[in-house]
């Protein structure tokens, strides 16, 4: 019965001390009874292989022991769906941008590659990868710790006390919130007014004590941003009147955001500050300040590009969704089938 003793020892290993002996004794009695039944049926003592078969049928010691233990969760079934939802948000809003910025810097920013002169962009990527591990562990670990604390706290009231009347309205993914369109319209009108009055000339600041002049290429950026903003004013006005994404409007938004990102990247890389004059400050000093502004902008363009990629992805998603007309939405409202009265 050496095998049986070894099995019971393995089960006891996983059991809490106060229950070890009691559970093992009862299990031992059951297994011995099974062996005796088997021997009675066979008319001879069981072989070791037959004992092995009985123990195998009872199960792995850790599993057998686990059945005697109370069910414990780090994060239980009540909190788990919310936990997964928060993890997805953290991944989408923190980890994905983190990766995109680091990859962008590793590929396009000479300064971030400087520390990996021998390995180049590959070394910079490797460094980013190792940093990602720490960032991911910290972000996801923090969320896990918070939810484990909520689980350990037991009833918080959050899951028990709720009001069905406060549930959000059925979401229509093609609906454009009027509040958003109103804000967009107002911001773009203010921007266009300011742009036309204050930014038309390359000499963007011309005060007795400070003068800032942009490079001649400014006229291109000025016109580009002006046209984009005017387009945005028109699009926001249309969206306000007819608050549902259509294919053409989604395409216009995609195009303006794409061109806007391109213009911004171009602006960052254009060494736009041509001259800076500050009364009482030496020419060499102001030259250095202008060069610093240009350098910082130049270094920032990968970040602008990453933001542009994220915006572009959102726009593509919206465009694809807007083209899916005819498919029923949740609640049975057909895509593209909303009457104008409902849309208003």
């Amino acid at each position: 019965m050496d095998l049986l003793e070894r099995y019971l020892q393995a089960v006891k290993f996983w059991l809490p001390t106060p229950q070890k002996q009691d559970i093992a004794a009862e299990l031992s009695e059951d297994i011995r009874a099974q062996i005796e039944d088997k021997e009675a049926a066979l008319g001879r003592p069981v072989t070791e292989a037959e004992v092995v078969a009985i123990l195998r049928q009872i199960g792995r010691p850790v599993l057998v022991a686990n059945r005697y233990l109370p069910q414990r969760y780090l994060i239980g079934p009540l909190w788990f769906p919310i936990y997964v939802f928060v993890l997805k948000i953290v991944a989408a809003c923190y980890l994905v941008p983190w990766v995109l910025v680091r990859v962008g810097l590793a590929l396009f920013d000479p300064a971030s590659r400087a520390g990996h002169a021998s390995a180049g962009w590959l070394g910079a990527l490797g460094s980013a990868w190792s940093g990602f591990g720490l960032a991911a562990v910290l972000a996801l670990g923090s969320v896990t710790v918070v939810f484990a604390a909520l689980e350990a706290q037991g009833k918080s009231g959050f899951l028990e006390h709720w009001d069905p009347a406060k549930l959000p309205a059925v979401r229509d993914p093609r609906r454009i919130p009027r509040s958003g369109s109103t804000i967009e319209l107002a911001v773009n009108i203010v921007f266009v007014s300011w742009w036309l009055t204050a930014m038309r000339s390359p000499i963007v600041l011309d005060r007795p004590d400070v003068q800032i002049a942009f490079a001649p290429v400014w006229s291109t950026f000025f016109l580009g941003f002006l046209m984009l903003s005017v387009t945005n004013v028109a699009a926001a006005a249309v969206n306000l009147l007819r608050p549902y994404w259509t294919r053409p409007r989604a395409a216009v938004r995609l195009a303006t955001n794409f061109i806007g990102s391109g213009l911004f990247i171009g602006l960052c890389r254009s060494s736009i500050v041509a001259s800076l004059t500050v009364s009482g400050v030496a020419r060499a000093q102001t030259f250095l300040i202008a060069a610093t502004i240009n350098r910082v902008m130049s270094q920032a363009w990968p970040i602008v590009m990453v933001v542009g990629i994220v915006v572009f992805a959102v726009d593509i998603h919206r465009f694809v969704r807007a083209t899916a007309a005819g498919r029923p939405l949740a609640g049975g409202v057909p895509h593209g089938g909303l009457p104008n009265s409902a849309a208003r």
Partner: protein, 111 residues
Amino acid sequence: MSHGIPSTPFESLRLELRRGCLVIAVMAALRSEQYGYTLRRLLADRGMAIDEGTLYPLLRRLETQGLLVSEWREEDKRQKRFYRLSPVGKLVLKQLRAEWQSLNTSLGDIL
């Protein structure tokens, strides 16, 4: 009884269905005193096979809830733990039996 993961939807639902019935079956069988192995054999003979990994934790849970009482006693030169229904367990079994019969009638009508 297999310890494995149910391989088909039927197997999974069958196990789920039996799990609830096992508690009543165990309690009903313990109206007379039994120790673990004879209880298992009794249930198996009546078509309610239950493996030791399920039965013993269940017996402990029912005992913790005050529905069973147990004692270690020597029989056939071996120490065995005998279980039987407590007075509270008898009352709860009566209620469960009524519930089961009501459920059985309702389900019979639906099926």
